[in-house]
Symmetry: C2
Subunit: 151 residues, 2 copies
DNA sequence: CACCAATCGTCTGATGTCAAACAATCTGTG
DNA sequence: CACAGATTGTTTGACATCAGACGATTGGTG
């Protein structure tokens, strides 16, 4: 069996020791796992994470420039171009010119976009529940509060 | 001034609202900030994060194959090749053949590598203290415990 | 021994992100 | 108005990461 040979190797579960003394590493590793889960979920859902966030923000605060979306959602401007391209091609968003400043667009969510957002949004609670199943609701709140302090 | 025009924009600090209801996004965002800080610190120190982790693990558990390093440190095998290349070129590590299994190396830390590790390690507490200055020591322990549960 | 599957280190191709440059447009100063 | 500097959206090039393929080697089966 495999374990008999693994005893030859050191197999120290060294990562746990590392994570205990390097909070930054633990944070990055947890984030990587969660991000992978989010990408997989978004893939099944058919709407990318960035696209979902853009639709959600447009629905919450109204038409925005790509710049505003980019800053608030922490998505690079260069990447935001592609995200909006995809959303526009799918009919979830219109790029209207901002009459007050013709450099910027006023990216606007469409009725179809709102429907798509509602559908995608409905699957989020189950996704979060699954991804953070190792934590109790109280612990999730604690984690949220700690991360909020960090940001 | 800029704020008078910013009033025209929505400027809702929307990200905070998003982070409150999307624990996964908050986690990824915090991780990105911390990772950036770690990279910057590693740049000043002159020893990459991956290189530091490899030296530290070799010092802790003795000679390892690249595979073992890769699995335990969650660094892709392809990337580990470059990390070990750099470490070997700098004289911090030797690649000895494992006589029991000539497919794998026995990556071994050198005396120079140990000295380099000690120097780099000394700067870590200050780095962590600075990066997580928004949290009290108790809160850092809480965060560590929550992340450990997640992993 | 011959053979087949698995493993280790390496390399290559595809992908994604980011910094820098660019044209178009705005603001402000003279 | 003319002109300099900043901003918006976009494109391009550099860079890192990852999946997959590959040779070399090992272990196990007959």
């Amino acid at each position: 069996m495999a374990t008999s040979r693994a005893a030859g190797r050191v197999r120290p579960a060294y990562f746990q020791q590392l994570a205990a003394e390097r909070l930054d590493i633990a944070l990055c590793r947890a984030s990587a796992a969660v991000a992978r889960a989010a990408d997989a979920h978004a893939g099944e859902e058919g709407l990318g994470v960035g696209q979902h966030l853009v639709l959600q923000m447009l629905d919450a605060v109204g038409p925005c420039s790509q710049q505003a979306l980019s800053e608030e959602l922490r998505i690079d401007r260069s990447v935001m171009v592609g995200v909006c391209d995809d959303l526009e091609r799918a009919g979830h968003v219109r790029r209207e010119r901002n009459p007050d400043d013709r450099r910027s667009y006023a990216v606007t969510i469409t009725a179809a976009g709102r429907r798509r957002l509602a559908a995608a949004r409905a699957s989020i609670p189950a996704f979060l529940d699954d991804t953070f199943s190792a934590l109790t609701p109280d612990e999730r709140d604690q984690l949220g509060a700690l991360l909020a302090k960090l940001l």
